[in-house]
Symmetry: none
Subunit: 191 residues, 4 copies
DNA sequence: GATGAATGAGCGTTCATTCAT
DNA sequence: CATGAATGAACGCTCATTCAT
């Protein structure tokens, strides 16, 4: 048994992942979700809001997945490997989520979203498990002494790039390759 | 003295960099370029063709810039540092080019463009100065023994990520920071 | 009680009859039909399709009208008089239908339509009640021994011409005049 | 040696005959005429005026052709046969003129043109050689006692219809067939 | 005279959104 | 709650017309 809100989420994600925002009209999303076009507006005030809430929904699921069995008290490196591995694993298992996130991230939607999130934070930067990890790593002199944003980019930039190669079929990420990539990523941030 | 074609290129790049493809109608581009809407069609057969030619134009300029003084006969590492540094330097100096390229790259335009380019190549993969460098690096056992696509992603994924942070104003890339980032990137691909 | 599809049909016919295809934009048709411009596309995939379906609709109504009480077993002459009279009567009663059909027929739309129809026919030429009549007439040596196309043109060329004069107000076709014209037309095809 | 005005006339006639008014932009006409687009406006105030003047030009040439050797003092029938034969002969020899005239005639251009011509006449109807002929024919009780417009339509309706069949390739008008058609046409107007 | 680059109103069409049912 | 017919503003694009050269 499914609820219409989820049907809409799934339809929107699949369609946008495949066809982009431009190729995904509300009517098409409604069609694929098996609901009337008007119904979408019962659950979301506008298409933009649907797009944003869908992103946050996926983010939440990703977050939940990578935090499963998170070894929060183990060494920095082990924790990083866990997070990186889980993230890549998630994207490999859920290529549509990856495609959607990517489309969102690099569009004006993503720019606005990030700007809002950063503006909305009272502290110096958003507080996530990554940031906590990187902050500790820097202060313990395990990671390079670089701004958190930079470490973030060094660490996840390559992971997202290989995830893209994988979803586009340019490479096939097996467990072994995945491990090597995580290690390489670690080597770029560790002191 | 300016020519209308360049005015249109600049207006399109600036507007799309800021507002995305969706938010950049032909009328708006024409307005900003200070020309009539019809004039755009004197220089470009369609909006799509304008978008693609603009991308190729920027790519050409980037390519010319990073190949200036390229030390093609020096060690792998030095060559890599040159390329990475020049690339980031270009993006810092031309943030609108970066925003445009990024939007293009992750949109259906970019997907189609890459598909065409890969299909059009007779060899196994496109031949660029990067690939040559990475191929040599791998065969000389200076770089990790990973698929070229992966090395590419490891090397440039983080560079593009920090360029993004910079253009969004999250960090400020000075010469020193830039150097550290390039080194970090090198550390993730070197053996 | 009216349905929007019919409203659009009527508005399109009236406007095109008066102003031609060129002078009948979708916006104008929608206006006259009392619907939004987008509504037209709920009922017709494109303006071209609207134009073609409208023609076929009128053709069907004409066909139904002239075949009413058709004395299919009576002499050739009587049958011809029936068909000619009914046809002219229809055009007199529905001058907008006549103007539309005429515009359609002599435009590229009509050329394409006839081409398709002739191509689509398995036999040597389209089978209509006219052709059947003329074929019989020729083989029974009641009509001149001329190609069917020619008999067709001899018979209907003048009828359409006088219908045109009537709709333009140059003449007024009363019952008596109509009868004389049909007889004249008959005289040009009979042996 | 050719003059630009004639080049434009020819290009316009050929293009419109083939592609209709809709498919014949000023730029295309200029191209085919081998002149600049602006040049057309040196010779014609607007596209509409070009179209109308072109029609009148063709009409004049047709008129000149059918009046060659016109046996103005011979019996009505002979004169009619002359006019009809010459008219059909002209259209067979100049199919592009026929196609143009036809397109013009049945479009709003033609309707307006005829209306203007009739309005412009102080007498009951326009004075042409046809009308003179038909008037005499009626008053001498050689032709049916019908309004001139009707005789006109009876006489020329079928001729134009067979000319159309010929230009479309449905029939081939040789000298013999042509003669039979003229006779048939005569039979419909003669008493 | 002759040009053709430039224009912008207007085209056919799409689609996010609304609302009567 | 749910619908989908209806909307009209906005889209990409065309083309008759103008005007600086």
């Amino acid at each position: 048994m499914s609820c219409k809100r989820d049907d809409i989420f799934n339809a929107a994600r699949n369609l946008i992942a495949e066809c982009g925002f431009h190729g995904s009209s509300v009517a098409l999303i409604a069609d694929r979700a098996g609901v009337g076009a008007g119904t979408i507006y019962l659950y979301f005030k506008s298409k933009d809001i649907l797009i944003n809430e869908l992103y946050q929904d996926i983010e939440k699921r990703i977050s939940a997945f990578i935090l499963e069995d998170y070894p929060g008290t183990r060494p920095i490196r082990e924790r990083f490997v866990h997070l990186g591995t889980r993230l890549l694993t998630y994207f490999i298992a859920n290529p549509l989520d990856f495609r959607y996130v990517e489309q969102f991230y690099y569009s004006p939607y993503g720019a606005a979203f990030r700007r809002d999130r950063i503006m909305g934070e009272p502290g110096t930067c958003k507080h996530t498990v990554y940031n906590e990890l990187f902050e500790q790593g820097v202060s313990q002199q395990i990671l390079r002494d670089l701004p958190l944003f930079v470490i973030d980019s060094l660490a996840f930039g390559p992971l997202l790039a290989v995830a893209r190669d994988h979803t586009l079929g340019f490479i096939t990420l097996d467990e072994h390759l995945l491990e090597e990539i995580i290690v390489a990523s670690w080597d770029s941030i560790k002191r």
